[in-house]
Symmetry: C2
Subunit: 208 residues, 2 copies
């Protein structure tokens, strides 16, 4: 398979969600032009993105909504169940663990871990908070593929290392720190996003 640019995958997810909605609306066919209009993206970019994975449309006609949705589901691995653990039982960790859209989209949170003795053994919903020292065993027994890292910046590297050693497949990193591991990582650094936003607001004020 040809190398896929990172941004393409992000957009594929966006296309997928739009197709889900179109399906809900009872739409049978769509086109790159229509998707482009709804998503604020160029039509040729959509076609180009799809072309990395094959031709899914009919010239002169467009794409069959359900067919394209299914193909993207397959490509993105959305069909399968992804068993995940949350590392860090703070506010954020609990919010993620309780985030309903995740469950609906095939991500099942099967465990929560922390290092704070006062939290261990407590329940959050039907999840018991476990100690990091039990992570490896739990991952092996429960076929955990993803770890969602919600720990403070200073603990991030240690936690990430433990996750990697436990045999988890990839990390969604909410901590405000670059982590160094050899498994795939996606960073969700919203304090950086917020600062970047602040910068844009300042810049804009300057112009106005």
């Amino acid at each position: 398979m040809e190398k896929i640019p990172r941004p393409v995958i992000r957009r594929l997810v966006v296309y997928y969600r739009c197709l889900e909605r179109m399906k809900g609306e009872g739409k049978e066919y769509t086109s790159s032009k229509e998707l482009a209009r709804r998503l604020g993206i160029k039509a040729c970019q959509i076609r180009k993105d799809l072309s990395y994975f094959g031709g899914f449309g009919k010239r002169g006609v467009g794409y069959k909504v359900e067919n394209l949705r299914e193909r993207l589901e397959e490509i993105l691995g959305i069909g399968q169940k992804w068993r995940a653990v949350v590392i860090g039982a703070g506010n954020l960790g609990k919010a993620i663990a309780g985030h309903k859209p995740l469950q609906q989209q095939g991500f099942e949170i099967v465990g929560m871990f922390d290092t704070d003795g006062r939290k261990i053994g407590k329940k959050f919903g039907n999840l018991e908070i476990m100690h990091m020292s039990d992570l490896k065993k739990f991952v092996e027994e429960n076929d955990v593929k993803i770890a969602i890292l919600c720990v403070p910046a200073d603990s991030a590297q240690d936690a990430a290392k433990a996750v990697e050693e436990a045999g988890v497949g990839g990390i969604l990193n909410f901590s405000a720190r670059v982590i160094k591991v050899s498994i795939p990582v996606e960073n969700v650094d919203f304090t950086a996003s917020l600062k970047s936003l602040a910068f844009q607001i300042i810049k804009r004020k300057g112009k106005a």
Copy 2:
């Protein structure tokens, strides 16, 4: 001012955080090389990024940690207080509102809004949950600059529009939907990140 590529600002935030830590470690001088090593970024990229805003270093010597930190603080608007509201008083909204690192970094959550009648009037910490219909007045009276959008995808566009009309300067969008407004937006779409991560794990498995 020359146009600054978006990714540059994100990295500036990362540099800033690293400098804060270096300051904490009592380091007086650093270099693009050292920053590069600590952050897993190329040294020339750091110099290039900084060069958009001027020359902050001394050839042959490097950068004075505290000096560079201060300049970045200034550029990014980190020195000033940013008053923000959270839209959507669900799990996620509450987690963000209670997220301590935000307060420490100059972002103050001064209000929470929702449209669910059962939530209005309830307290979260020392914040009272208010109705969206009161947003405009609140924003004007409290000089709110940022709105953090934590509503379900289907409500995102309406909420974003209300935020824009209330006169807020920019939006941090946690919802899984593209929103169309004319003020700056930063998207934090972690379900998309999670799906992108899933794809990378699949791809990697294929190779191994």
